[in-house]
């Protein structure tokens, strides 16, 4: 019985496989200093930015792609990728009416109505399609509080001092192969600054979307929360289906100054590849935050997409009494591979971290948790609690856990719990007997299993995340 159910569930097709027909301004494939100069000049960037990129490119040229993650894939040919693609729109837009109607249609297909989002949820969105932001809303409300929320390109033009001060301070150019590549070629992303003592009155949200065949997407996000401020940031993504692999190598940097709090939530649903494991997005992302005294950074992620994922949202707990949290649901199905987890680096005294990781593997996929908890010699009374659970569906998938613990201070308290379970036929039959069909039963059980993480998401996002879990794990009904 279980085999049939699983076949059905794992046969679920990616719902968002379509391409929208928008004219693009695209640079020919290949990467060298000239391409970087071209990107920089197309974006009308200041000299320091170009130099920064070139320095990153030179560093990257000498690096080699890491092979320690527990994933196998054909390495991308970096000379076959086009590094810049922007919808042909040059002037800045003030309202949705000015947006390319084709683009709006795309959002419609995804079920994202910006108008509705605006009206009903009070979410300001900075929509990123193929690397260039085309619509920004609620800017005025935010501006009243002194909050800056704009595309990275705009920030480089309008707030160069802030960008220059913080860019690369959390994830340095030479941090790793993909971070270096991103630093050299990033085309856009989001920038956010919350002034001292300001509580951001709404959830800030960005929808990312890869749209152009063969273009890698190199997003750069920088979020700075000044002393005593608070912000909740939502990042959600979908991508159209493709035969060739698409590379996504984003960098996200968070700066939480003294007493600040940042909540960063992600729902990721990029094309995972088809039923044969063909195609799909390579998601090699570096996300990291730094916490000053008494501050807090909380990462929440629901990851259901991408063919290969390599991602460790991390916290450097530099200041005393700072807090880092990581809540994650990672779903792999069919031939997907994920090597994901977090790093909690305790440097300050009385620092605290919590890791709740829920992996779900189905089909022939492999799901690995890799986490590092490091307590530095000066970090008196550091505390960590980690819980890593794996849920297996069927008997052709794999779940792996690689926890690393390095404690250099004898007062550290580190707890690690791990479980592995399977959705039992007993559970499914019990639900069936109560009138709940098998697909709904699996959705119910999976949502229950992920509850601790889903509870961390803002309400409207949690609903979307639940839907995503269902879509990723169920066969299309009827």
């Amino acid at each position: 019985m279980s085999d049939e159910i699983l076949d059905e569930i794992t046969a679920s097709e990616y719902k968002y496989g379509f391409t929208s027909d928008i004219e693009s301004d695209k640079v020919p494939p290949g990467l060298n200093e000239d391409v970087i100069r071209l990107i920089s000049s197309k974006k009308n960037e200041p000299e320091w930015m170009l130099e920064w990129r070139l320095d990153a490119f030179r560093t990257w040229s000498e690096m080699i792609e890491p092979d320690w993650p527990n994933v196998t894939y054909n390495k991308p040919n970096f000379q076959a990728i086009s590094y810049y693609s922007a919808p042909k729109q040059t002037k800045t837009l003030d309202s949705l009416e000015e947006v390319d109607p084709e683009l709006l249609k795309t959002f419609e297909k995804l079920g994202i109505s910006i108008d509705e989002q605006k009206r009903l949820t009070g979410v300001a969105m900075d929509v990123v399609v193929d690397s260039v932001s085309v619509a920004t809303s609620f800017k005025e409300t935010l501006a009243e509080k002194g909050i800056i929320f704009c595309s990275m390109s705009e920030a480089i033009q309008e707030h160069p001092e802030l960008v220059r001060k913080h860019l690369g301070t959390v994830v340095p150019k030479r941090d790793n192969f993909y971070a270096a590549l991103n630093s050299a070629v990033f085309t856009d992303g989001s920038f956010c600054y919350i002034p001292k003592g300001v509580h951001c009155p709404m959830e800030l949200s960005t929808y990312f979307r890869i749209n152009e065949a063969g273009t890698g997407q190199f997003e750069r996000t920088l979020l700075v929360a000044d002393k005593g401020s608070y912000v909740s940031y939502l990042e959600g993504c979908t991508a159209p289906s493709r035969d060739e692999n698409q590379l996504h190598a984003a960098v996200v940097e968070l700066v939480a100054m003294e007493g600040a709090e940042i909540k960063y939530s992600t729902v990721q649903n990029w094309f995972p590849g088809d039923a044969e494991g063909k195609g799909g997005v390579f998601n090699f992302v570096t996300k990291r935050g730094i916490c000053e005294r008494n501050s807090k950074i909380s990462w929440t992620q629901v990851e259901t997409g991408s063919a290969v994922t390599w991602k460790y949202p991390s916290c450097i707990l530099k200041g005393d009494n700072s807090v880092g949290e990581f809540y994650s649901v990672a779903v792999t199905n069919k031939f997907q591979q994920a090597d994901t987890g977090t790093k909690m680096i305790h440097l300050g005294k009385n620092t605290k971290s919590t890791i709740i990781s829920k992996g779900i593997s189905a089909g022939k996929s492999h799901n690995s948790y890799r986490g590092l908890v490091r307590v530095g010699p000066r970090a008196e009374n550091a505390r960590n609690f980690s819980q890593c659970d794996s849920l297996l569906m069927g008997n052709q998938c794999g779940a792996h856990t690689f926890p690393y613990i390095e404690a250099q201070n004898p007062s550290a308290q580190i707890e690690h719990e791990a479980t592995t379970s399977k959705i039992g036929e007993d559970q499914i039959f019990y639900c069936n007997q109560r009138g709940i069909g098998t697909e709904e039963a699996i959705a119910l059980i999976v949502n229950g299993y992920c509850k601790e993480v889903l509870n961390q998401l803002p309400m409207e996002f949690a609903v979307e995340a639940q839907k995503l879990l269902e879509v990723s794990l169920e066969g299309s009904v009827g």
């Binding site: 019985m1 039992g424 036929e425 007993d426 559970q427 039959f429 019990y430 639900c431 069936n432 007997q433 109560r434 009138g435 709940i436 069909g437 098998t438 709904e440 119910l444 059980i445 949502n447 229950g448 299993y449 992920c450 509850k451 601790e452």
Partner: protein, 249 residues
């Protein structure tokens, strides 16, 4: 309501039911008793549609419909409820969320609209009170960390919420202390009506002190070997099952 005719079933290669005949009419309470391994739980699982059991012969007719052709959830939509001997745990899913899903999925299966939130809430209050359950039950994870008695009470709570036509109580008395037994039995009795029926499956007679059966059947080696009224249960209690076994060697 339900007519079971010459039902045969096996699990893997082993035959467990070898020709069961049983008819239950609306308003009736039937009890099936028998020693361990006689096929009692298999019978309840086959009626509910568990796929581990292969039906090799016979028919089950439920209100004019061939039950064996239906999926377990479709049988539930038609009004068949099984109180499990060993209810499963579903971590992170609250009792209220679970029962809400069950009710609305059943309604959907019957082509009805979902129950309104207010009505649902009122009904939950009423039924928790009926089973003398604390309201905090509703927000606990389904059966997780429940005591044996709490699990059984939760089964009857779900039965009260779903209002089935035929309720099968599989060893509902096992693991219950005398107070819980009284509460559970009281709950079942209050739900009895002219239109529904109850099939009580039990090893011991004591539950039948509280839920009085109209008919008692003795199951042995996959067959109903004796039927009678409630006095048969008392006789079994006094004499044990050995005389049944001797009669049926």
């Amino acid at each position: 309501m339900i007519r079971i005719n010459d039902l045969q079933a096996r699990v893997e290669e082993k035959e467990i039911l070898s020709g069961i005949n049983l008819e239950i009419n609306p308003g009736e309470v039937h009890a099936i008793m028998g020693p361990n391994g006689s096929g009692k739980s298999t019978l309840s699982s086959v009626i509910a549609g568990r796929e581990d059991y292969e039906v090799t012969g016979g028919t089950i007719d439920f209100e004019g419909e061939d039950l064996l052709n239906l999926d377990p959830e479709e049988r539930a939509h038609k009004g068949i409820f099984l109180s499990f001997q060993y209810p499963v745990e579903i971590p992170g899913v609250t009792v209220s969320n679970f029962i809400k899903t069950a009710i609305n999925e059943s309604r959907k299966g019957r082509g009805e609209e979902p129950m309104e939130a207010r009505e649902m809430l009122a009904k939950m209050r009423e039924k928790t009170a009926l089973l003398e359950m604390d309201k905090s039950y509703l927000s606990r994870s389904l059966n997780e960390g429940f005591s044996g008695g709490e699990k059984k009470r939760n089964e009857i709570f779900q039965m009260a919420m779903l209002e089935p036509k035929l309720a099968i109580l599989d060893e509902t008395d096992s693991g219950l202390d005398i107070d819980a037994l009284r509460i559970v039995a009281n709950g079942v009795n209050k739900l009895r009506s002219e239109d529904n029926a109850v099939l009580v499956i039990t090893h011991y007679q004591r539950l039948l002190d509280y839920i009085e059966p109209d008919f008692v059947h003795v199951l042995y080696n996959g067959k109903i070997v004796k039927s009678g009224d409630k006095n048969l249960a008392l006789e079994l209690e006094a004499k044990g099952y050995d005389w049944i076994k001797e009669e049926n060697v």
